[in-house]
C-alpha cells in the first residue's frame, strides 16, 4: 500500500496493529481489535476515530455568504458563527455533488467538511461557482480530524481541553456548535457533531499536532474504557443511525429528496443551485425513495443486492450489514415510493434466494 496517502497518525495505527485498507486513496484503519468490540465501545463508552482523510474547504471573503447560500441546500444566512449545519452540494440536474457539514467561522468565512473521495471534485465545483472576490482554499492536507464519539466523550474532553474564548467547558458546547479550544496546549476547533448516532465531538487540528493529541486523548480516556475505532465500526454505527454515505446512498444522479434529506433543504422552489431541477423531478413524479429495512428471514443484506417484490426486481440495497446494537441484520436501499411505507414487506435477494424484510422507521436506533 506504499502508493496510498497516509494520515498524520499512520505510525500510531501501525503500532496499534490496525488492519489497514485503501479508502478513497488513503491507507486507513478498518479495525484495531474487532469491529463489534469497537462498535460497542462507542455505544457504551467512547471510541476515537482518525478521520483525517476527510477534506476541509474554506470559503471566505466578501460574498462568501451568498456563494455558500447558492451552493448548499441548507440555509446559510441564518447560520450564526459557531454553528454547524448538514447540507448537500447539488448539481444542475438535482443530483448530489457531495454531502457536507458547513461551519460558520465568522460573518464572511465558512469551512466545509467533505468526503475524502470528493475533495477535488468539491473544490473545483465550488471554485467554478464562486465569484472572484471569494477565496476557496483546500485545507485538507494541513488539517487532521479526530472523532471522539460515545457517551463518555464529553467528560474525557473536559479533562484535557477548554474553550478558548469563554469560560465554558467543552461539555457545555451544544449539539451542532463548534468553538476554538485548547487541548493540552494545542489550538484546535471542537465541534459537537459526528457520524455515529452517538453523542460526541469532532476535533479539527493542525496535522503536526495529531500524534500528540491522539496520545493525550487515549490517556485521558483510558479509565473510561475509550478505545481506538476504525472505519469498520464507523460504518456499522452510521448504518444504525441511517446516516447516508456518499457513493452508497448518494451520488451525482440521486436527488437529496429521494434520499430522504428533505429537512436539510431550505426550499424546493429555488434559492440554491439544483433547486429547479429537483422541483422538476418532483413534478414528474418521484421514481424511488430511500428506505431502511430489517431482515426477518436469514441472511445479511449488502450494498448492491437486489430488492424484489413477488419475484420482480424493484430496487437495490445501498448499504447493509449486521447491527451489533439490535442483533439483527439491517439495510438501506431504494424502492419505488409506493413500497416506502413503514411496515411494507419486501424481499432482499441474497445469492439468488429471496429473504423477507420489512421497511422500518429510521434511524434504526434511538437518538443519542
Amino acid at each position: 500500500m506504499s502508493e496510498l496517502r497516509k494520515t498524520p497518525l499512520h505510525d500510531q495505527h501501525q503500532a496499534l496493529g490496525a488492519r489497514m485498507v485503501d479508502f478513497a486513496g488513503f491507507a486507513m484503519p478498518v479495525q484495531y481489535t474487532s469491529i463489534k468490540q469497537e462498535h460497542a465501545a462507542v455505544r457504551e463508552r467512547a471510541g476515537l476515530f482518525d478521520v483525517s482523510h476527510m477534506g476541509q474547504i474554506e470559503i471566505a471573503g466578501p460574498g462568501a455568504v451568498e456563494c455558500a447560500e447558492k451552493l448548499l441546500t441548507c440555509p446559510i444566512a441564518s447560520l450564526r458563527p459557531g454553528r454547524v449545519r448538514y447540507g448537500v452540494l447539488c448539481n444542475e440536474t438535482g443530483g448530489c455533488v457531495d454531502d457536507v457539514t458547513v461551519y460558520r467561522k465568522s460573518d464572511t468565512a465558512f469551512f466545509l467538511c467533505v468526503n475524502a473521495a470528493n475533495v477535488e471534485k468539491d473544490f473545483l465545483w465550488i471554485k467554478r461557482h464562486a465569484p472572484e472576490a471569494v477565496t476557496v482554499i483546500d485545507q485538507s492536507d494541513q488539517t487532521a480530524l479526530l472523532a471522539l464519539q460515545g457517551p463518555a466523550s464529553a467528560s474525557i474532553l473536559d479533562r484535557v481541553s477548554s474553550l478558548t474564548s469563554t469560560d465554558k467547558k467543552v461539555s457545555g458546547l451544544g449539539r451542532f456548535r463548534f468553538a476554538a479550544a485548547d487541548l493540552s496546549g494545542h489550538p484546535v476547533q471542537i465541534s459537537r457533531t459526528g457520524y455515529t448516532g452517538a453523542d460526541g465531538f469532532e476535533i479539527y487540528l493542525p496535522a503536526e499536532s495529531a500524534a500528540s493529541i491522539f496520545e493525550t486523548l487515549m490517556d485521558a480516556g483510558r479509565d473510561d474504557g475509550l478505545e481506538t475505532a476504525g472505519l469498520g465500526a464507523r460504518d456499522t454505527l452510521r448504518l444504525e443511525a441511517a446516516l447516508p454515505l456518499y457513493g452508497h446512498e448518494l451520488d451525482d444522479s440521486t436527488s437529496p429528496l429521494e434520499a430522504g434529506l428533505d429537512r436539510f433543504i431550505k426550499s424546493q422552489t429555488g434559492g440554491f443551485l439544483g433547486a429547479e431541477a429537483i422541483q422538476r423531478r418532483e413534478e414528474q413524479g418521484r421514481v424511488r425513495q430511500l428506505v431502511g429495512f430489517v431482515i426477518e428471514g436469514r441472511g445479511i443484506p449488502r450494498g448492491g443486492y437486489p430488492i424484489a417484490l413477488d419475484g420482480t426486481e424493484v430496487g437495490s440495497v445501498t448499504s447493509g450489514g449486521p447491527s451489533p446494537t439490535l442483533g439483527s441484520a439491517i439495510g438501506l436501499g431504494y424502492v419505488p415510493p409506493e413500497l416506502a411505507a413503514v411496515g411494507t414487506e419486501i424481499d432482499i435477494v441474497i445469492r439468488d434466494r429471496s429473504v423477507q424484510a420489512r421497511v422500518v422507521k429510521t434511524p434504526f436506533i434511538g437518538a443519542a
Binding site: 488492519r19 469491529i35 463489534k36 441472511g299 445479511i300
Partner: protein, 132 residues
Amino acid sequence: MSDFQLPEDLQYTRDDEWVKSEPDGHYRVGITDYAQQQLGDIVFVELPSPGDTFEAGQPFGVVESVKAVSDLFAPTSMEILEVNQDLEEAPESINAECYGIGWLIRVKATEPEALDQLLDRQGYQKTIEERS
C-alpha cells in the same frame, strides 16, 4: 501479522480451510485460525444440507464477517454427512474455536486419494507467508 495456531495433525487448503481425518474414516472441515483472524467477527454462516455433493474446489457455503462475504470451497470431492447446526445461532464460535466447536461440516470423501494433495502445516504456513 498476528500469531495463529496451525495444529500438526490437520491438513490444509490454499483456501484457508482445514481437514481432519476422523477415526470412522470420514473427514471434518473448518476454516483456519489465520482465516478467522483475517475475517474478523463472524456474524453469519450458510452451509449445505446432508446428502449434498460437491466437486473439489466447488463453493459449498459462505461465511460472513461484519464487512465481508467469503465463499467456502470444497477441499476435496465430497458428500455432506453433517453440518454444524450450532453455527446458525452462534457463528462467533468460529472466532472462538475454529478447530473445535467452530467446525463447519463432516464429509465423506468421494475421491479419498485426492486428499494426499492437501497441504501439511508447513506447506500451508508457506502459502500464507507468500501472500504478504
